[in-house]
Symmetry: C2
Subunit: 238 residues, 2 copies
């Protein structure tokens, strides 16, 4: 984990030259005191992890040379996380944890009781990248733009099932035991919980499975991590 | 959740007068703008949740009168969380989440690679109280003082099994399926992972069960929430 790992949106292959943007060049030279000849780990979300040698690095930019693949590309299971943004720190946290725990896509939605009306998609995407850099992952989940839950459901492909965490349902979480593998999305509500019309609509869809997360009310960020853990252990790659 | 909930370390019963300390009095009058006659929810970790009417409230203190029990005392399963403190914010987070997820006791330990040498036990205990206030719980887990893991293990009662999260073991988390109910403790390592001697010792104890948390390396705080979720779903009260 001490090793420097950078996400770089550029093809990676044996002997591939990789340009560095100003931010990454500054991070490597200014912050991490790296110089030409030093080696770091890089990944692009598609080609696994590569050992790369720093060729040049300066204020305005620099370049790397990909040496050898150090880890194969590892993609998470086909699991999406749909959540209603909450306070900034906890929203950042949900995105970081979802990336760590192997969500393949992260979709912020507006619900009837959503506390926050807007998000900084670019900042959340950067959190997902940083989580992958920190945790040795080779995949970075895409963070979507904020959209109304109703619109998301209007265009929903029923082939993907939704695991609906409903705080009104006090356990048992074991309901996951019977569920079929395949594409899923976990749906976590806002601090304010679900509205009656949302409850009615979600209950009406046959691709939605309602699940409880125990007798204690969990904060939205806790519920997200807990549901991801249960899904990964039962239906995912744990 | 909008309702004001306060933890009060005082017996609660029908018609019981409950004194308010300066901090809680200030919170109620100064911050929450409550005045005599207003009603709040209180709990003491033993007698369930009570509706209490504010009798007097001022700068220096005040008093409540317990009206009626609004929720029975609900204790979590006999599950401890043992963890190595990390950066302040993430340590606070682990305590908050453990309280939310129903750990009955929280024990910070020093390991060979523990990043942090000291904790503020009183501050962490306050986080556990706040989590219970926020999440509708009636129980507050005790947060222990920082102690060396080796000393904790020296005095360990083998009747309580330890679920040892080892990042070196890449899945499957399903190993929990076969585990027996009863008193357990979840053991989460520091960012730096476990030392060889710690691995050797933990592997030697027959009350220790080693478990992996999937193919991606999880931060310590993520691992704590994930392990608590898996235990609660399999062996706890979810």
């Amino acid at each position: 984990m001490a090793k420097i790992r950078l996400f770089i949106d550029h093809p990676l292959a044996q002997g591939q030259a990789v340009p560095l943007g100003p931010d990454q060049a500054h991070y490597l030279s200014g912050v991490m005191r790296q110089s030409p000849g030093d080696e770091i780990a890089v990944f692009n979300g598609r080609d696994g992890e590569w050992l790369a040698r720093i060729e040049q690095v300066g204020k305005r930019g620099g370049s790397l040379l990909a040496q050898a693949q150090t880890a194969p590309q590892m993609n998470p299971p086909d699991l999406w996380l749909i959540f209603a943004p909450i306070k900034k720190a906890r929203t950042d946290f949900i995105v970081e944890k979802a990336a760590e725990m192997g969500a393949s896509r992260i979709l912020p939605v507006q619900t009837d009781h959503t506390n926050s009306e807007r998000i900084r998609q670019d900042r959340l995407q950067a959190h997902a990248v940083e989580a992958a850099e920190q945790c040795g992952g080779t995949f970075v989940p895409e963070v979507g733009d904020l959209q109304p839950l109703s619109r998301l459901l209007d265009g929903w492909d029923g082939q993907r099932r939704i695991l609906w965490a409903d705080e009104a349902l006090a356990g048992p979480a074991q309901t996951l035991a019977g569920l079929a593998r395949g594409p899923w999305a976990i749906l976590i509500g806002p601090e304010g919980g679900w509205s009656e019309s949302e409850r009615k609509r979600l209950s009406a869809h046959d691709f939605v499975t309602r699940v409880g997360l125990g007798p204690r009310i969990l904060r939205a960020d806790t519920a997200a991590v807990a549901a991801l853990a249960l899904w990964q252990a039962q239906l995912g790659d744990w």
